[in-house]
C-alpha cells in the first residue's frame, strides 16, 4: 500500500467527521473501533517497514503550492515510525480506559481529530505541513482540557494554547528564513525538510536559526524557563488529556529537535550543547525537587514527567548514536510509563475525586491489583532495569557521558531523586494502615482499566527485557543521521563532538 501514511493521517479525521452522525449511545464503540483500526494500520506500517534501510520510507509527495515550494510530503524513518505507533497505541489505550460521561461524543470526536494531528506531525517531511499539524494539535487539546478539566480548566487551557502558539510562531519565522536561504542558494523555493537538511549554512546563520527553532520546540518539550504551562495543563486536564499530553504531545517537541535543528544546524547544535545541557540539568534537578514537594499525586507525576523530558533532551544533544537513539527510545518509554501513571492517578481520582496523597494510605490493602500495577509503573518510572525506561535513560546518559562526565553524573541524580519522590508517593498512598474511612470500600480496577493498564505493563516489561526489535530500526536511522551530521558539519569542534562511530554495545 503506497499511501499508507496518508491513510494513517486522515483516517481518524474522516472517522471524526463521520462520528457526528453516530448516535450518542454507540459513540464509545465507534471510537474504540476506529482507534483499533488505526492502531492495526500503524502495526501494518511497522511490519512492512524495512528496518535495515535508514532513509525515509513510504514517501508521498503531492504539490500543494508549487510556486512557493510547499508540498504535501510525508515519509517515515526509524525515528518517527515508533512514535507514530506510540500515538495510535496510546489513543487506543486511552479510549479503552476512558471514563467520561459528560459530552462523550464531543470528547471522542476531538480525540480522533487529535490523533490525526499527532500522526501528521510525526510523518510530515515538509516544514509547512509539519507546522500545520503542529498548530492544529492545539485546538482539540484546548477543548479537551477546557471542557472536561478541573476548576481552573479555562486558565490552564488558554495558557497551554498561548505558550505553544507563541513559540511556534517564532519557529515559523525561522522556517521562512530557512526557506529564503534555500531559495538564495538554489533558486527554488522549498519547504521540504529533507532538502533543508542538505543545505550547509554559515555558523552565525545557523545559530540564529537554531535559536528560532529551539524556542518553538522547547516550549513544547517543555524546557526549563518555559515549562510553567505544563503543571497547570496536567493539573486541570481530565485523565485522557493528561495521558495524551504526556505520552505524545510533549514528544512532538523532542522529536522536532531530532528532526529539525540537529541535522539542519549541526554546528550550531554543537555550539549550543552546553547552554542546552545546562537548561536540561536545571529541568532535571529542579523539577525533581519540585515534584518531591507536591502534595497532589498528579502534580508529582507531572513534574517527574518534566524531569524525564530533561534526560531526553540531554540524550539528544549528546550528538552520538547512543545518545540520540537512547533519547528516541526514552521518548517511547516515557510515553508508555507516564501515560500509565496518569491513567493510574485517574483511576483513584474517579473513585475519590481527590488526588491529594494525604487523603490516601494503605491503598494496597484495599485495591491490591491497583497497587501492583502502580508499583510496577513506579519502578519503571524510576528506571528499574528490565523496564523500558531503564534502556532509554541508560542510553541517553551513556551517550552524554562522552560529552561531559560531570554533567552526566549530575543528570544521573535524576534517577536517585526520582526514586525519592516516586517511592515516597507510593509509600504515602499505598502502604501503612488504611486511615480514612472512605478508602475502606474502594473498588479495585474494573475490566476496562485492568485491560488498558496490563497492556501497558506488558509493553513496558517486554521492551525492557528485549528492546531490540524497536531499538534496531531506531539505531539504523540515527546512525545515518549522525554520520550525516558529521559529514555536514563545517567547524572543527562540531566534527569532533559529533561522533558517528558506534561503540560496540553487544558482544556479537
Amino acid at each position: 500500500m503506497d499511501h499508507i501514511l496518508s491513510v494513517l493521517v486522515f483516517f481518524p479525521a474522516i472517522a471524526g467527521l463521520l462520528g457526528f452522525v453516530v448516535s450518542k449511545e454507540s459513540i464509545r464503540a465507534y471510537g474504540l473501533s476506529v482507534a483499533a483500526i488505526e492502531f492495526l494500520l500503524s502495526l501494518w506500517l511497522w511490519l512492512s517497514f524495512d528496518g535495515s534501510y535508514p532513509g525515509f520510507q513510504f514517501v508521498e509527495v503531492l504539490p500543494l503550492i508549487p510556486s512557493f515550494g510547499i508540498n504535501y510530503y510525508l515519509g517515515v524513518d526509524g525515528i518517527s515510525l515508533f512514535i507514530v505507533v506510540l500515538s495510535t497505541f496510546i489513543t487506543l489505550i486511552g479510549l479503552i480506559a476512558l471514563n467520561v460521561e459528560k459530552d462523550l461524543k464531543n470528547m471522542i470526536i476531538s480525540l480522533l481529530f487529535l490523533e490525526m494531528t499527532m500522526v501528521g506531525v510525526f510523518v510530515a517531511l515538509d516544514a509547512i505541513v509539519f507546522y500545520v499539524f503542529w498548530e492544529l494539535s492545539l485546538v482539540p487539546m484546548l477543548y479537551i482540557i477546557g471542557a472536561w478539566g478541573g476548576n481552573l480548566r479555562i486558565y490552564a487551557a488558554i495558557k497551554f494554547f498561548l505558550y505553544t502558539f507563541a513559540g511556534s510562531l517564532i519557529m515559523l519565522v525561522g522556517m521562512l528564513v530557512m526557506a529564503y536561504l534555500y531559495y538564495q542558494a538554489t533558486g527554488v523555493w522549498s519547504f521540504s525538510i529533507t532538502e533543508w537538511h542538505r543545505l550547509i549554512l554559515p555558523e552565525n546563520y545557523q545559530i540564529w536559526l537554531f535559536v528560532a527553532f529551539f524556542i518553538g520546540l522547547a516550549i513544547k518539550v517543555p524546557m526549563f524557563p518555559f515549562h510553567t504551562w505544563l503543571p497547570y495543563a496536567h493539573g486541570q486536564a481530565p485523565t485522557i488529556g493528561s495521558v495524551i499530553l504526556a505520552a505524545v504531545l510533549l514528544k512532538m517537541g523532542t522529536y522536532g529537535l531530532v528532526r529539525l535543528p540537529l541535522p539542519m544546524f549541526p554546528d550550531a547544535s554543537v555550539y549550543m550543547i552546553y547552554p542546552v545541557a545546562i537548561l536540561s540539568l536545571i529541568m532535571i534537578i529542579y523539577t525533581a525537587m519540585v515534584a518531591y514537594a507536591q502534595e497532589d499525586m498528579k502534580q508529582v507525576i507531572a513534574y517527574s514527567s518534566i524531569s524525564h523530558m530533561g534526560v531526553i533532551v540531554l540524550g539528544t544533544f549528546a550528538m552520538n548514536p547512543e545518545g540520540i537513539a537512547g533519547s528516541v527510545f526514552f521518548m517511547l518509554s516515557h510515553g508508555i510509563v507516564s501515560g500509565a501513571l496518569f491513567m493510574l492517578v485517574g483511576v483513584i481520582y474517579d473513585r475519590r475525586h481527590t488526588k491529594l496523597m494525604s487523603e490516601f494510605g494503605g491503598l494496597a490493602h484495599v485495591m491490591p491489583r491497583y497497587g501492583t500495577i502502580m508499583g510496577i509503573m513506579v519502578m519503571a518510572s524510576v528506571g528499574l532495569p528490565l523496564t523500558m525506561s531503564f534502556v532509554g535513560e541508560f542510553l541517553s546518559l551513556a551517550g552524554f557521558y562522552q560529552v561531559s562526565h560531570t554533567m552526566t553524573i549530575l543528570a544521573g541524580t535524576s534517577i536517585i531523586l526520582g526514586a525519592v519522590y516516586m517511592l515516597s508517593l507510593y509509600k504515602k498512598s499505598f502502604f501503612g494502615e488504611v486511615t480514612k474511612e472512605e478508602n475502606k470500600n474502594l473498588k479495585d480496577l474494573n475490566g476496562k482499566e485492568s485491560m488498558a493498564l496490563w497492556t501497558l505493563v506488558l509493553v513496558t516489561v517486554w521492551l525492557g527485557v528485549y528492546p531490540k526489535p524497536v531499538l534496531e530500526p531506531i539505531n539504523t536511522s540515527v546512525e545515518s543521521l549522525v554520520s550525516f551530521m558529521h559529514k555536514k558539519a563545517i567547524t572543527k569542534e562540531a566534527k569532533e563532538v559529533i561522533k558517528p562511530k558506534v561503540i560496540e554495545r553487544e558482544a556479537e
Partner: protein, 495 residues
Amino acid sequence: MLEPISVSMESLNLGTLAPMLVAIAGGLGILIIDLIKKDLDKTLYVMLSILILVVDLGAVFGQRIGDRGFFDVMLIDGIAVLSQIVILAASMLFIPLALTSRRFHEFSYPEFFALFLFMVAGFQFMVASDNLILIFVGLETASLALYTLIALHNRERSFEAAIKYFVMGALAAGFYVMGAMIFYALTGSVELYKIAEVLEAGEFANMTILLVGVSFMIAALGFKLSMVPFHTWTPDVYEGASATLAGYMSVVPKIAGFVVAMRIFGFLIQSDVVWVRDILYAAVVITMTLANIMALVQHDVKRMLAFSSISHAGFVMAAIMIGTTQANSALFLYWIMFLFTNLGAFAMLWVSRHKDKIWHDRFDHPYEKFSGMIQIKPVGAVIMALFMLSLAGVPPFSLFWGKLYVMSAAVNSDYIVLALIMAINSAISVYYYLKLIVYMFLKDPTQNEGTIYAQNTSKPLQTIIGFSAFLTVFAIVAVDPILEIITTYVQASGF
C-alpha cells in the same frame, strides 16, 4: 478667448469607464423601477443588484490591461483590474445578507440598493485611476453613499456611527486635498506618474514640503484604512452599523484604500529618499500592536472584530511598506483570504442579531451571548470557531496562508524584525479570538433556546456562511491558483 476643445470619441476610450457606468446605470435603474411600481420586495432588488454586479464584473474582465482613457485619467493596470474583481466579488457576497428572515426596514428601501451600487462605482473609480482628483471623487462618492447606508439602519447608534464616520471622513478628505495640493504645488500635476517623474527629475528637492504632503496623505489614507492613531472611529462605527455593513466596511473600502496607498506611496518608497518607509514602518507596527492590545479588553464581539480588522489592516500595510512584487501579491492574497473569513464571521453575527438587547444593555453581541453555544447549536459554534481560528492564523485555515506569505515577503526583504513583530502580534491576537471560542465551547449555556443564535437565518444566509466556511477550511487548494493570477496582475502593473 478660450480655444474650443475638440475631443474625438475614440481618444476618450469609454471602454475604460464601462464598469463604473454599469454600476451607476444599474443604481439609477433601480430607482426608476421604484418610480414605476412601489412596494416591490427586497428579494427583487437584491437579485437585481447582484445581476448588475455580474455585468459590471463582465465589463471589468473585458478591459485591456495597460489602457488609459477618458482624458487619460483612467488607468487600467493589473492591480486596478484585480482590486475591482475583489471589490465586486465581495459586494456580490455581502449584498445577499440583506435577505434575512426578520425584517430590517432599510432593506425595504430601493434607495439602499441604489446607494450600494453608487458606492461600488465610487470604489471602482478610486482603484482605476492615478489622477489624484479622480481618486478623490471616487473616494467621496463611495464614502457619502456609505455614510447614508449606515444611517439607514435607523437605530440611535447608527446615527451616531454615521455622523462620526462622516465627520472623520470629512476631516480625512480635507487632509487628502491638502496633500494633493502640496503635490500639485511641487510638481504642477495631479497625475501620479507625472508627479513621480517630476520629483525624481528634481531629485526630491523641497524635502520638507514634500514630507508635509506625504504626512497629509498618510493621515488621509490612515483614516480610511483605520490605521492607529486615526482609528478611533472604527469600533463605534462598526458597532452602530448593521453587521453586514460592518463586515463590508472591514473589507471593501480597505482594499480600495490599499490600492490608492500602493499608487501614492509606491514610488516614494522605492525612491528611498523620503522617509516614507520609516514613517510607514512605525505606523504599521503601532497599528498592529495597539489595535491588538485594545482588542484584548473588548466585551463585545463586534467591537473585538473591529479592532482585529484594524490590526489586520496594519499587517497588510506592512506589505505596502515592503513594496516588492511578492509583498504586493501577498497583500491581495491576504485580503482575499480575509474577505472570506470576515464575511463568514460577520454573517454569523448578523444571523444571531436580536432586535432587543437581551444580554447586555449596551452591547448587541457580548461574549456572554455565545456562552455554551456548542451545546445548543453545535454546528454554528463549530463554524464560528473556524472563522476565529482562521482570523487568528491557525493553519491550515485561510488566513494562515495570507499571513505566511506576508511574513515570507518581509523575511525575503530582510525585514526579519518586522516578521518577528508580526509573529508576536499573531500570538497576542490569538487570545481574543480564543476568548470567543472559550465562551462558545468551554462555558455553560445561559439559556436553552437554539433559535436565539439563528434569529435572522434564511437559506441565502446559510448558503453564504457555508460557502465561506468551506473556503476557509479548504483554502489551501485555492492558494496556488489565486497566487498565480495575483502575481501575474501585480507584475503586469509594475508593482
